[in-house]
């Protein structure tokens, strides 16, 4: 048997390789595409309208970005773990409706109602995760069923109890004032109000990014999404990881539903409907692979930022807002194509 080993690389050659790998590493960051996209969009809208980069303007587009961003973080974690959640959007509605009905209709203490509502959201997440891991069916189908059921429940139960399709009057609920500073405070910066949900968004993103890259759970998330069989073979509790990820989506849906309810003091039965796809769009723009095992929480947050900027920027730029969905679709297509190129690059055998 003869084994030919490659000759040891010379120092000069090694240096060159190191330089290439630095560029490579930068390009391989999953969030790089979304970062460039966000910068381009910001410059574009800033040229079209000076209001866009005024403090008031920034506050305006951070507003939708933050709510979508919180959900995008959870959905991105789930996608990296190899699954979808189509019920995430309507679950934000369920969270708000549950709290609103329990307080305004049944007179429950608002803090207790919030906890019960959180338990419901975690329960829905658990049910999703349990069914997916137990049956081995695609999460797409399981959560599609959950999405339809929740949509029906939101409407039917609300109508059954209140007789209408919305629940309001949160402002008159006892102890509402004790909840408001946490979920609906405004922070004044140079005379412009910024909503506290932006802080929540940043906190959720920071925790998500830290968990993903620096904890065992994050490692397991990547592994479960990348190759569930291999993960199980080396002792990763893949089922527990999946269920926890679904419950994280539930927790974030509760947070977003609560932020909206407390700020607006009312909630519609249709709330959150259709938003589940936007979370997925944000996660994909942020570099998450649809097949799992690869992606970034920060990227997903930037994806939500892109969504917020486009949403408001079109208005600032004086364009017809009917074009918004077209832009969103085009950006999604671009992001997916870019991701595919990056993935091939990442999986190349040669360096």
């Amino acid at each position: 048997m003869t084994t030919t080993l490659p000759p040891p690389p010379t120092a000069a050659a090694d240096e060159r390789v190191a330089q290439i790998s630095l560029v490579r590493r930068l390009v391989l960051r999953p969030e790089i595409g979304s970062l460039i996209g966000a910068a381009v969009l910001f410059i574009l809208f800033a040229i079209l309208s000076s209001n866009f980069y005024s403090l008031a303007g920034i506050s305006n587009w951070l507003d939708p970005a933050s709510l979508f961003g919180i959900m995008a973080v959870a959905v991105a974690l789930l996608m990296i773990g190899g699954h979808f959640d189509l019920s995430a959007g309507v679950l934000t509605g369920t969270a708000g409706l549950a709290t609103a009905i329990m307080t305004t209709q049944w007179g429950l203490n608002i803090w207790v109602a919030l906890l019960v509502s959180l338990a419901i959201c975690l329960g829905v997440g658990f049910a999703n995760g349990y069914l997916v891991t137990r049956t081995g069916l695609p999460s797409f189908i399981i959560t599609l069923a959950m999405f339809l059921m929740l949509q029906g429940l939101n409407l039917a139960v609300t109508k059954l109890i209140t007789g209408t399709v919305s629940v309001g009057g949160m402002a008159t609920v006892p102890y509402y004032d004790t909840v408001r500073p946490i979920f609906a405070a405004k922070i004044n910066i140079f005379g412009v109000d910024f909503k506290i949900q932006i802080v929540w968004w940043i906190v959720v993103t920071a925790i998500g990014a830290w968990v993903l890259s620096r904890t065992r759970f994050g490692n397991w998330t990547f592994a479960t999404g990348g190759d569930p069989v291999a993960a199980r073979n080396v002792g990763v509790p893949a089922k527990r990881t999946t269920i926890t990820l679904f419950m994280t989506v539930g927790a974030c849906a509760w947070l977003v539903g609560t932020l909206k309810l407390i700020e607006q003091t009312s909630v519609q039965t249709s709330q959150g409907f259709g938003e589940e796809l936007i979370y997925i769009v944000a996660a994909v723009i942020g570099g998450c692979l649809l097949t799992g095992g690869y992606g970034s929480v920060i990227g997903a947050s930037i994806g939500a930022l892109i969504f917020g900027m486009t949403n408001q920027g079109i208005v600032y730029a004086g364009l017809d807002s009917d074009w918004f969905k077209f832009f969103l679709g085009a950006m999604l297509l671009l992001a997916v194509l870019a991701n595919q190129v990056v993935r091939r690059y990442a999986e190349q055998t040669k360096r």
């Binding site: 090694d14 390789v17 065992r216 592994a223 990348g226 190759d227 291999a230 990442a346 055998t349």
Partner: protein
């Protein structure tokens, strides 16, 4: 009297219902030695390693780990006794960095409770030094493991098993899916593992891979042992001939000759190839897969 072998089986049998998967198999695995298990498809190689690794339990005979008779009830128990199995799929996640794969499922953490975090620096350093000890010099343990070659991935899996306390390493056809050069690299790491004092069980159907690295050879055929030889008891030619099953090969070439024309030409070619390479390689060459009998 020297220490008992790490693993030893004596007249072990395994039945699946009425099917005799293994009958009266005996061999042993010593520390710092490579035991090769050779056999064609359906010979019972995978059943044997599943008994070693705790997936199956033997039905008759005796299985001793370091002299102590055992029945391993689960892969976990086998691992706890230091028996690690590297399966063909290697259990690696292609898109994850090498160091994350190395420690997957057994991550090192620092800090307590909810603040427990990965000790990234330590894991990077250990991965690099453990791979270096196996003779793999990676510039960057952060590269996705999918960027490594098949042979290198195999070696990461081996190094991982060694680091996590394996005393016996069971390698399930590690060279089967590899080209000549890559297979050579893996054979080198098998020797490396042996030199670090491990007992290695090397499963293969290729006598040319087994002979250079093996200290002991056990041949399986249709669930029975064709013999268990120390290296000085058998030559490469004898091993190849045993693997080839001379009589059967002859029968095959007769059958092909009766077919006439192209089949006869193939039969001649088969004889020539068989003489050169040993029959098992020739059978593969023609896409014939032994008895094809699987439990």
């Amino acid at each position: 009297m020297s220490a008992p072998p790490l693993l030893e089986i004596e007249r072990v049998s395994k039945f699946f219902g009425s099917v005799i998967a293994l009958q009266d198999i005996s061999t042993k695995v010593e520390a710092a030695a490579v035991t090769c298990v050779l056999g064609d498809n359906g010979a019972g190689k995978s059943t044997l390693i599943k008994i070693f690794s705790g997936v199956h339990q033997h039905d008759a005979g005796e299985f001793r780990v370091e002299g102590e008779p055992v029945r391993l009830s689960s892969p976990r128990e086998a691992l706890d006794r230091g028996i690690a199995t590297v399966y063909q799929d290697l259990a690696v996640v292609r898109l994850m960095p090498v160091w994350r794969n190395f420690f997957l499922g057994s991550e090192i953490t620092k800090g307590k409770g909810p603040f427990a975090r990965l000790d990234v620096e330590a894991m990077r350093k250990i991965t690099k030094s453990e791979l270096l000890a196996m003779g793999i010099d990676l510039r960057d343990v952060d590269q996705p493991i999918g960027t490594l070659s098949g042979g290198e991935r195999q070696c990461v899996a081996i190094a991982r098993a060694v680091y996590f306390g394996a005393k016996v390493l069971i390698l399930d056809e590690p060279t089967a899916a590899l080209g000549v050069k890559q297979a050579g690299v893996v054979l080198k790491y098998i020797i490396q593992a042996r030199e670090r004092g491990l007992g290695v069980v090397f499963i293969t159907h290729n006598p040319h891979h087994a002979y250079p690295v093996g200290d002991r050879f056990m041949l399986l055929k249709r669930g029975r042992s064709l013999g268990d030889f120390a290296k000085d008891e058998i030559t490469r030619e004898e091993l190849t001939a045993l693997m080839a099953g001379g009589a059967e090969l002859e029968e095959l070439s007769h059958e092909l000759e009766r077919g006439g024309g192209a089949a006869a030409a193939a039969a001649h070619e088969l004889e020539a190839v068989g003489a050169q390479l040993g029959a098992s390689a020739a059978e593969e060459h023609l896409g014939l897969s032994g008895e094809g009998q699987e439990k």
